[in-house]
Every structure is written in structure tokens, then in C-alpha cells.
């Protein structure tokens, strides 16, 4: 049997890898990928907590949170990529440091 902390360690590692990517990547698509990794880590955590601590009692809050995170991830990917493509059209760059003016 797998104890709970295995899942938590896995999620923490993925979260840290994602955080590293968010801070250090220059390409904004790369930053978006890293954010999605962090959201995945959060999902693993939520489902693990639901399964180990709440599943027997029929408490569904963990699952509902996961659904909301799915929706947020989808919305974020759509808007983020639209903004990246729009910025690329105007400035021909996807490097996050070079997109530094607010008005296009």
C-alpha cells in the first residue's frame, strides 16, 4: 500500500520544478507550461487528500476543487496563449523580459 506522503512528495517536487520554470524561463510559452505543471501538482495534492482523508465520509470538496482548477487551467491557457500570440504579432518576440511596455 502507498502511504499518503508519497503522493505529497511527488506533488511537492513537481510544484518546485514548475516554480523553477516560471521564474527562470525566458520564453513566455515556457512560463505557461511551468504554471500548468504547478496546477497539476496542486491537483495531485487535492485528490490525494480527498482519497486518504475524506473519501470514506462522502465529502466531495476535494473533487469539486479539482474541477474548478481544471476550468481555471483551461481558461488561463486560452487567454495566456492568445496574449502571447497577440504580443508576438506586434513585437516579434516571446521573451517575457522584452515585452515590457503596457501599451502596444
Amino acid at each position: 500500500m502507498i502511504p499518503l506522503y508519497w503522493y505529497l512528495l511527488l506533488a511537492a517536487l513537481i510544484f518546485c520544478i514548475g516554480l523553477f520554470g516560471v521564474i527562470t524561463r525566458r520564453n513566455s510559452v515556457g512560463i505557461l507550461i511551468s504554471i500548468e505543471l504547478m496546477l497539476n501538482a496542486a491537483n495531485i495534492n487535492l485528490l490525494a487528500f480527498w482519497r486518504y482523508l475524506y473519501a470514506e465520509t462522502g465529502d466531495l470538496r476535494g473533487q469539486v476543487f479539482v474541477i474548478i482548477i481544471f476550468v481555471v487551467a483551461a481558461a488561463e491557457a486560452a487567454v495566456g496563449l492568445a496574449m502571447i500570440i497577440s504580443a508576438y504579432r506586434q513585437k516579434q518576440t516571446v521573451v517575457a523580459n522584452e515585452i515590457d511596455t503596457m501599451k502596444g
Partner: protein, 173 residues
């Protein structure tokens, strides 16, 4: 070592390796493909948590939609930064240290928490039924309000994405 433990170790090795590769790969498109592998691994982890609905939705939403969106965006913006140049900014070393500190902090602060060693007890078919989740999402005393708010968020995001990415003809000349 039971079969489940071996499966978990293999899966988590794949997930960790592919997420490291997707953060460090030099070509953006490779990074996106490694990301897909990491997502599939996470779907397997969900299946091991007996959340089959979420495992399938993970494949459906992440691999079927988000990863494909990311690959499209990568290909559309491919001329910038392709292969050449540093993929990381100057803060790499500092970030590595910070991230390690955060990880160590998480481990230390949670080490003494009692439920860490919890094991699962088998669930009945009743508790694994997807219909229960559906009822909870739509029941008035359940999660109707958050669910509806989320759907409005999604709609707003879709409209916003279309508006932002729309190529305006008159500006191009």
C-alpha cells in the same frame, strides 16, 4: 514492495523526469512534448487514486486541449528564440537555491503531521460513482454557485481569448 508501489515509483519517475525535461529543454516544441508525457503520467497517478473520472478528464482537457493549444502557439511563434540563445534568464542559480529552500521547508514543516502515514481503505462502488459528484455540483445545497461562477469564468475567458487573438485588419495596412 507491492505491485502498486512499483507502479507508483515508475510513474512518478516518468512524471518527474519529463517535467524536468519540459522545464529545461532547449527547443520549445520538445518542451511541450515532454509536458504532454508529464500530463499523461499525472493521469496515471489520478487513476491510482481511484479517481477514474479525473484521470480521463485530465487526458481530455490537458492532452486533448491545453497541450495542443500550447503546441499550436509554439509553432506560430516559432521564429522567435528558436534553438539559439539562452533559454534561462540570469536568476537560474538563485532560483535553484530558493526552490530547494521552499522544498525543504515544505518537507520539514509537514514532517510531524500525523496523517502522513495514512493508508487507504477500499471504497464501495457507491462512493466511486461519478453521479454523486454530478449531483453535488448541481444540488442547490451543494456546489451550484461555485460551479456556475466557474462556467461564467470559462465563457469570459473564451470571449476574451478570441478578442485578444483576433487579427484586426485595419491595423495591418
Amino acid at each position: 514492495m507491492t505491485g502498486m508501489q512499483i507502479l507508483f515509483l515508475i510513474t512518478s519517475a516518468v512524471v518527474l523526469f519529463s517535467s524536468i525535461m519540459s522545464v529545461t529543454a532547449k527547443r520549445m516544441i520538445h518542451s511541450a512534448l515532454w509536458f504532454v508525457l508529464a500530463l499523461l503520467g499525472v493521469a496515471v497517478v489520478f487513476a491510482m487514486l481511484e479517481a477514474s473520472f479525473f484521470a480521463v478528464v485530465q487526458v481530455l482537457v490537458y492532452v486533448g486541449a491545453i497541450a495542443i493549444l500550447i503546441i499550436f502557439a509554439t509553432m506560430l511563434t516559432r521564429r522567435a528564440l528558436e534553438d539559439k540563445g539562452d533559454q534561462f534568464n540570469r536568476a537560474t542559480l538563485v532560483t535553484l537555491v530558493i526552490v530547494s529552500i521552499i522544498f525543504a521547508g515544505l518537507v520539514v514543516s509537514l514532517k510531524s503531521w500525523a496523517p502522513l502515514q495514512n493508508l487507504t481503505s477500499p471504497l464501495s462502488a457507491e462512493q466511486l460513482n461519478v453521479g454523486v459528484l454530478g449531483l453535488a455540483l448541481t444540488a442547490p445545497d451543494g456546489f451550484t454557485l461555485p460551479f456556475e461562477v466557474t462556467s461564467i469564468l470559462l465563457l469570459a475567458a473564451l470571449i476574451g481569448a478570441i478578442y485578444v487573438a483576433y487579427e484586426r485588419k485595419e491595423k495591418k495596412k
